[in-house]
């Protein structure tokens, strides 16, 4: 089984978000980048398939050279090789089309991604990729098994879960549940040493044109100070008469 794991390179969840160049660019100054948390769950599931079912695992990122440490980290966790598509990922559709070019040439059975990225939170790429390459697709996946070419998966729905059956080839958009938090791996020294020698292939754009463009960023208006009360009567009164939410 050949698995491709899509890795997004995102600011750490504690990062301060600021913009530069007249609010047109994300300010990366002092920001620590990590593997997107959702992708990390999917990557960890891929490692399970590697160890238990002999799968090979390739990781891919659409991004500029600055994302390579994030790919190396995925290699240190245990992926076999990495691909970087040398494109600035400005639009979800653009990323999906670049990934589709990789998937079409790669003979992958399973593409694992995260259900969203922690930067733009678009929730676009996995579904677009699946449609572009005509693979089956399970979104918001909290569990999956592969048996031959049959796939059984569980996805989160409003207020519960749905079990589905489907088949390879497939795109999975994972989240916590596909593996648990305790299953996540921190790369060890040996993994980090080995990762340096693993192939990281850089490929150029397949010539895709973006369909959306960020004109500017803005931050939410500063919030007024909290109103403190010392009894529940005042609280109920404010929620009813001022905020009008009860």
């Amino acid at each position: 089984m050949k698995i491709l794991v899509c890795i997004s390179h995102v600011p750490d969840t504690t990062s301060k978000i600021n913009f530069t160049d007249n609010d047109t660019k994300f300010d990366t100054n002092g920001v620590q980048f990590v593997i997107n948390p959702y992708d990390e769950f999917s990557l960890t599931r891929a490692m399970w398939f590697k160890e238990k079912q002999g799968a090979t695992v390739t990781v891919v990122n659409v991004g500029e050279a600055s994302t390579e440490p994030t790919l190396r980290k995925a290699l240190a966790i245990g992926a076999d090789d990495a691909i970087r598509v040398n494109v600035n990922p400005t639009d979800g559709f653009l990323v999906a089309k670049e990934l589709a070019a990789i998937v079409k040439n790669g003979g992958y059975d399973v593409v694992l991604a995260g259900k969203e990225s922690a930067d733009y939170n678009g929730q676009m790429v996995p579904g677009m990729l699946a449609s572009l390459v005509d693979f089956n697709f399970v979104n918001g996946c909290v569990g999956m098994e592969v048996d031959g070419t049959a796939v059984s998966a569980t996805r989160e729905i409003d207020g519960g879960e749905e079990k589905v059956s489907t088949s390879l080839p497939i795109v999975i958009a994972g989240q916590k549940g596909i593996v648990e938090e305790k299953d996540l791996r921190i790369p060890n020294m040996r993994g980090i040493m080995m990762a340096r020698k693993k192939p990281l292939n850089v490929v150029e754009s397949s010539g895709v044109i973006a369909s959306t463009e960020t004109q500017s960023f803005e931050k939410p208006a500063p919030k007024g100070a909290v109103k403190l009360v010392d009894n529940v009567d005042d609280l109920i009164n404010l929620l009813h008469n001022e905020a009008k939410v009860i």
């Binding site: 979800g92 519960g160 916590k176 960020t214 803005e218 919030k223």
Partner: protein, 317 residues
């Protein structure tokens, strides 16, 4: 040209978000000087959509007993084609988020998700979207001729705008589905975090799972859903489905009440889209006080039971 909205439903009843996308689509259609068409798939009564501005409702009735993303995406695309719709508006329910990217590919449309406001301009078509886990917004230009717009939940809101509408049957082909539903496991009769107007959430400050009785009671008095912080679900005090925050479920309710939750950045990122936030915490330095609108510095074990009693009286009055 027209604007098409997909009015999502579950078990024959429209979701709340259906009224929000119809309201939004109506305004966009007005701005573009065109008409609005709402599509329903085994949905509710079309007149419910007329109330929010849908002049024309296309009703698909078929034997799909549950949602299927590939089938729904294909039907939405067929309807967009039949109506020459250049703009398709979809909600951010789990189903909406599942189909919208597939619709965008089928239409070869630029897709902007998480949109929180009407377009600031229609030429170029520019929308404001949530980004960086509610810590910022991006003003995005969708430059393609066809566009798919995903509306963030409880952002634009539903606005009544009654029109005299007409409904017509729409027959669409259902493609090979690829993914088959085997079973659905869903709590019945409880209010889900996704649908709730009010969410009552509690954290590690409550000390142990045995103390959740008062959280559930407060939620039931308010007709609210219950939620929790991440450590609470990691510790197994509450089910994973209640975990909210950046890595859990997003909350975009009208009122969010946080009890014994410190307000870590990852927690706030997931609940910040809620309109009004209340915190009850013993520690006046807890970061949640910076994010909240109203707060009580105090012990949950003292104030929550009082709040329940007083709210019961308030509800009866």
């Amino acid at each position: 040209m027209s604007v098409l909205v997909f009015a999502d439903s579950s078990e024959g009843k429209f979701k709340k978000t259906a009224f929000e996308v119809v309201s939004y689509g109506k305004k966009v259609a007005e701005e573009l000087g065109t008409n609005l068409v709402a599509l329903t798939i085994n949905g509710g009564d079309a007149s419910e959509l007329y109330a929010f501005g849908a002049e024309k409702v296309l009703e698909v009735k078929n034997d799909l007993s549950t949602f299927n993303a590939k089938a729904y995406a294909s039907i939405i695309n067929q309807a967009a084609d039949a109506q020459s719709a250049n703009v398709v508006v979809i909600d951010s329910s789990v189903d909406g988020l599942y189909v919208a990217p597939m619709v965008a590919v089928a239409m070869d449309a630029g897709y902007a998700s998480n949109v929180v406001a009407l377009p600031s301009s229609t030429a170029p078509f520019t929308v404001k979207r949530k980004a960086f886990s509610n810590k910022a917004f991006s003003n995005t230009i969708v430059s393609t001729e066809k566009k798919v717009i995903g509306i963030a939940k409880n952002s634009y809101g539903a606005h009544e705008n009654a029109v005299s509408g007409t409904a017509e049957a729409f027959s669409a082909n259902v493609p090979e589905m690829g993914v088959k539903s085997e079973s659905v496991d869903k709590a019945t009769g409880v209010i889900t975090i996704a649908d709730a107007d009010i969410v009552v959430s509690a954290g590690r400050g409550l000390k142990g799972p045995e103390n959740w009785g008062m959280v559930e009671e407060l939620a039931s008095v308010l007709g609210a859903a219950t939620a929790c912080s991440k450590p609470v679900s990691d510790l197994g005090w509450r089910p994973h489905s209640e975990h909210v925050g950046q890595t859990g479920k997003p909350v975009a309710s009208n009122l969010y009440i946080a009890i014994g939750i410190s307000g870590a950045i990852q927690h706030l990122a997931g609940i910040n889209a809620s309109k009004v936030k209340v915190v009850i915490n013993t520690d006046p330095e807890a970061p949640f006080f910076k994010a909240a609108d109203y707060g009580i510095v105090g012990d949950a074990f003292e104030f929550v039971p009082q709040l329940i009693e007083k709210l019961k009286a308030f509800k009866q009055a």
